[in-house]
């Protein structure tokens, strides 16, 4: 009988044989060594018996019993946001980079402002002057347009009576409040109640 080549199979070799990846030389040993073959065959039988163990399932209603004790995450909760930031190194690195960029840009902006106060003041003055001039022109244009309207005189006569003016303002306020109330009712989201089985 041909002697088996090489040493006996190691546990790693048996593992490779079980997964069908043992190299040819070691397989040759296995074929010629009854001791190794018996051991490997016995292990294969064990593995096959383990793989054939029956599937098991918890009793009916398991899912509902679990869900009755679980709080569904609120993605907008501050705690949830904090947990997401600290969930992994990547998320922490992204959050840290964003925070650094924000603080950095704010610091750069403050530093530049402090170093260039004169430029900022003259620019501010110019913006203010231009703005007030434009505002004044707009107001004048608006007023002259208003006065030229055909209904202006009758509106002015209406406003001369304080009682009528108060009634008109009251009606406008009431209309505004009713509109706001109706909008709130329309846009109200349903409450996040989750139905759980008992």
């Amino acid at each position: 009988m041909t002697p088996a080549p090489g040493p006996h199979l190691s546990p790693d070799d048996v593992e490779l044989w079980l997964t069908g990846t043992l190299d040819a030389a070691r397989t040759r040993h296995l074929e010629l060594c009854p001791e190794c073959f018996d051991r490997a065959q016995a292990e294969r039988e064990i593995v096959e018996q383990l793989a054939a163990l029956p599937l098991m399932a918890p009793s009916l209603g398991f899912e509902d019993r679990v869900m009755a004790r679980v709080t569904v995450a609120d993605p907008f909760a501050l705690r949830s946001l904090r947990q997401r930031i600290f969930a992994s190194r990547r998320s922490m690195a992204i959050a840290a980079s964003l925070a650094l960029a924000l603080v950095g840009s704010m610091a750069a902006s403050v530093a530049w402002s402090l170093a260039n106060q004169e430029i900022l003041i003259s620019a501010g003055n110019w913006v203010l002057a231009q703005g007030s001039q434009a505002g004044w022109f707009a107001l004048r244009g608006l007023a002259s347009n208003f006065i030229e309207q055909p209904w202006y005189e009758s509106a002015r006569a209406f406003a001369d009576h304080p009682g009528r003016l108060a009634a008109a303002l009251g009606a406008l306020t009431l209309t505004y409040l009713s509109g706001m109330f109706a909008l709130r009712r329309l846009l109200a989201l349903p409450s996040q109640q989750v139905a759980h089985a008992a």
Partner: protein, 200 residues
């Protein structure tokens, strides 16, 4: 209202993202995907259906209530099996402490109960209870698994019943890869010896 996704097409990571977004259906999907393997692992670890179900429930409640702390770079299966295995090991340690008391379990209230839970030297041999469990569990292999050390039991079940890779088992059990290989080899060896009489 958002459309219901086709759950079967989504990976665990995608389902977790939906759960984090507040979708209750995603939580349920995660329970459905893992209730059987988690329960099977726990049942074979503690060999008591009611207890296994309690531990499985604890596992899911713990995992799902902490879904925001799950790190997506790891497999969800590794995470849930890790929580389940820790629950089983904690329980077995507590039970061992109770069993090792010379006077019986501190929870025993009657002399019979004290005697039943007193120090059992050589408790490795199969008791009538073990025999009944073995029958219920489907044979000698189940009984032999029950007699393995808990860490060997976790390894062999994860590897050959759940079909997990060595690397994933190492991650689940927080053990070096070499230790996992050694445990699995030893566990197989012990099972082989325990079942040798059936081969003859």
């Amino acid at each position: 209202m958002a459309e219901a996704p086709e759950w079967a097409r989504l990976t665990d990571q995608e389902v977790v993202l939906l759960a984090r977004g507040g979708r209750e259906a995603a939580y349920r999907e995660l329970v459905r995907r893992y209730e059987r393997p988690v329960f099977a692992l726990l049942y074979r670890m503690v060999r008591d259906r009611e207890l296994a179900e309690d531990l499985a429930q604890e596992t899911f409640v713990k995992a799902l209530n902490a879904i925001d702390s799950y790190r997506p770079e790891f497999k969800f299966s590794s995470w849930i099996f890790k929580i389940a295995n820790n629950a089983a090991i904690d329980h077995l340690r507590r039970r061992e402490l109770d069993t090792l008391s010379l006077d019986g379990s501190p929870h025993a209230e009657t002399p019979e109960a004290m005697q039943a839970t007193a120090l059992q030297i050589g408790a490795r041999q199969e008791s009538p209870l073990d025999a009944v469990e073995a029958k219920e569990l489907g044979g000698a292999i189940e009984a032999a698994i029950g007699r393995l050390r808990p860490e060997y039991r976790s390894c062999i079940l994860l590897r050959h019943v759940e079909g997990r890779a060595y690397e994933e088992i190492a991650e689940i059990l927080d053990l070096p890869l070499g230790t996992v290989k050694t445990y699995i080899h030893r566990a197989r060896n012990e099972l082989r010896l325990a079942l040798a009489h059936l081969r003859e």
